[in-house]
Point group: C2
Chain length 100, copies 2
Amino acid sequence: MELDPVIHAPTRLQIVSVLAAAEEAEFGFVRDTLGVSDSVLSKHASALETAGYVRIRKGYVGKRPRTWFSLTEQGRSAFAEYVRNLQKIVSPSGLTVLPG
Amino acid sequence: MELDPVIHAPTRLQIVSVLAAAEEAEFGFVRDTLGVSDSVLSKHASALETAGYVRIRKGYVGKRPRTWFSLTEQGRSAFAEYVRNLQKIVSPSGLTVLPG
DNA sequence: CAAAGTACTTTCCCCACTGGAAAGTACATG
DNA sequence: CATGTACTTTCCAGTGGGGAAAGTACTTTG
């Protein structure tokens, strides 16, 4: 019933949650959604990639470089397990983390 | 949509969750339930008390000292809000992430 | 009565981690 | 060539968590 520390850190939890809701998200979108600096997002994204949870894709929009993030399958299941574990911890109180 | 850092730390989240499920819990029960050392529980409980989230009651069982913890009203609502914020972060956002 | 045990609390110490700023990289544009 | 964009990496504190060990205040035991 451990809470995966790679996911639990607030900033990474938010990154993973945003990615869980989409196929793919742009660097700038995630950064602005979370309100963090470039360096912070870049470092956390690398950490998530190293953990095997996030795929980092680089490409171009016109001639400008752009970076996209997406969850890997491993990332999706790690997130799902994280949420299950949260529920186990929190649920004795009757409160729930997931609706439904 | 901030995650209260006093509650978010895994050990404190577990303490608060255990207390949310009961009126009051003994020091030894919480320590054994979480599997942490005396010092760790003592320090986190103090931190929660300082934050106004936990009440620490001291008394005796026979002639032996004993300590009980319980959530204050403030602790209960902080926990409820924490869980609401978690939900907002974790539940599928419905935002459109892919740019045009 | 001294030694040992109970039930914590506090101190000590170290390591991991976090975030922002600043510098660096790579390429494109004026 | 200087500037700008889009990040990445380095540098640099500050925070915080955990265990071990020492401390506190009694109580029990030999």
